[in-house]
């Protein structure tokens, strides 16, 4: 497969990755997502402290051709945003799982993750994409 998938991360059907660390999650878009968008030229980030719901748009990613949203993976509060992306949106293309992270969200008390995919399940999803 031509897209990188990392162990230890969880994945959403909208091609975002999540790394949980205690009550906080870091999220970004997957290698597949950045490859579909290509040439990311601008990123709009949410304000710190904003209360968000899982599936709510928290960031806007602009490629040359199209506007896409990045969604919050959980219910919670925005704790950190990757401000480097404002001047270097290409980090999303170059290092989507590392320097291209987008937000950190403090998970709301009592919030339980819905069924996110592990690496194996996400690879299966991508293999289906690759075939179609």
């Amino acid at each position: 497969m031509k897209w990188e998938v990392r162990e230890g991360l969880l994945y959403t059907p909208k091609h975002e990755w999540i790394k949980q660390d205690g009550s906080e999650v870091t999220s970004g878009i997957t290698d597949y997502a950045q490859d579909m968008l290509k040439d990311i030229v601008y990123v709009e980030l949410p304000e710190l402290g904003r209360v968000v719901k899982a599936g709510e748009s928290v960031a806007v990613i602009e490629s040359v051709k199209a506007v896409s949203d990045a969604y919050s993976p959980v219910d919670g509060v925005i704790k950190a945003v990757n401000e480097l992306l404002l001047d270097q949106p290409e980090l999303l293309n170059q290092d989507p799982y590392g320097a291209g992270w987008i937000v950190k969200v403090e998970i709301a008390a009592g919030y339980v993750n819905p069924d996110l995919m592990d690496m194996k399940a996400y690879i299966t999803l991508l293999e289906r994409e690759e075939e179609s």
Binding site: D39, V41, Y42, E44, E62, S63, V64, K65, V67
Partner: protein
């Protein structure tokens, strides 16, 4: 309607193009990425499949008189082997399409029309050919393939493929029969990118061989690469070229789009829509087309409102990020008082106002060698 493949679909798959449905045609939106394709077109050369474009032949003793009635530009000075751009209008001045007209002979012309408009145009052309003029129309879109080679390296890429000195072909001129890589082609020095280049027409069945031959002639030697619809749209926008459905439509006249020099009120045979356009010229069009560049961050896109202070004064007709200028730019229809180069305005991007500057069209002009 099921989406159709062009004769070059196999080539796009082989080159890993991202395929989209563009007005009923399965075409690549990008290959390596829009930014690198745009840069390649400005610095070296790219190859586009534009086989979705429509082609209609107009023949017969009445061909020129008929076309003079149909299109707004004046064909009376058009020579054999020359190409002219023209809008065609409805009686109310709205635009049917904008097309290229190739003159083979006094009684033989070829019209190249927008893909999405081919059926509509052909019906319109047929309807107006019925009043006793000796003119025969044929829609040859299906059997005709077209590729566009664009960029400064274009002449050097074609030269080993033919004995004909295509480098000497003048801008907006064409050669009806050129053998390129052994294939019979029609070649014009035209394009939709603001760069030097050629549009090459051949029989659909031979398009694959032609594409492969041009690609091999340029790829290693001169940095040629394939480009998709995404790069094509950015290139034409940087070069200030209108796109039907955005800068021209049934509701948008050529005068609103600033195409006055392609509208001849003086020609002997009056064109359809002349009265309406004359009136529009007299009272002034309600909106005028300008270029816009974004001062800070953000990308302007089609449909975004343009404001002067709190007042909405127009809309973005096309917008993108421009790799050539490394910022967002576009075109917009504005109330004439604000449609002045240098004017500082705002565009609403997702509810937030972003500063923009009004620019003259085109934003990009190549340095002619």
């Amino acid at each position: 309607m099921e989406a159709r493949q062009t004769p070059l679909y196999e080539q796009h798959m082989r080159l890993n193009g991202s395929i989209v449905n563009y007005s009923g045609w399965l075409l690549p939106v990008q290959f390596a990425g829009i930014v690198s394709e745009v840069n390649r077109a400005r610095q070296k050369a790219v190859l586009f499949d534009v086989s979705h474009m429509g082609e209609v032949t107009v023949e017969g003793a009445g061909a020129e008189a008929y076309l003079q009635k149909i299109v707004t530009n004046d064909l009376s000075l058009l020579k054999d082997g020359a190409v002219i751009y023209s809008p065609l209008c409805y009686p109310d001045g709205g635009t049917v399409d904008d097309i290229l007209i190739y003159r083979y002979n006094w009684d033989r012309f070829l019209l190249v029309v927008n893909a999405a408009n081919t059926e509509k145009d052909y019906a319109w052309l047929m309807r107006h050919a019925r009043n006793g003029e000796s003119v025969a129309l044929h829609n040859i879109s299906v059997e005709t393939a077209q590729i566009a080679l664009q960029g400064p390296a274009s002449p050097a890429i074609l030269s080993p493929l033919t004995a004909v000195p295509l480098g000497e072909l003048k801008y907006h001129h064409f050669l009806p029969e050129v053998e390129l890589a052994g294939i019979k082609c029609m070649v014009s020095r035209t394009g939709y990118t603001g760069e030097d280049g050629y549009e090459i027409y051949c029989a659909a069945a031979q398009a694959g061989i032609l594409w492969d031959a041009v690609m091999s002639a340029g790829r290693e030697r001169l940095g040629l690469g394939p480009a998709g619809l995404g790069a094509r749209d950015v290139l034409r926008l940087e070069a200030g070229l209108p796109l039907y459905g955005h800068e021209l439509s049934a509701a948008l006249s050529p005068l609103m789009a600033g195409l006055d020099r392609f509208v001849s009120f003086k020609k002997q045979i009056p064109f359809i829509g002349r009265e309406a356009l004359l009136e529009q010229k007299r009272v002034g069009p309600g909106k005028k087309l300008v270029g816009l560049t974004v001062t800070g961050r953000g990308v302007i896109r089609e449909g975004y409102p343009v404001l002067a202070g709190d007042a909405e004064i127009g809309w973005v007709s096309s917008g993108t990020y421009s790799p050539t200028f490394e910022k967002s730019l576009g075109m917009a229809f504005l109330t004439p008082e604000k449609a002045v180069a240098g004017e500082e305005l705002l565009v609403m991007i997702r509810g937030r106002a972003h500063p923009v500057k009004v620019e003259k069209i085109p934003l990009y002009r190549r340095v002619k060698s």
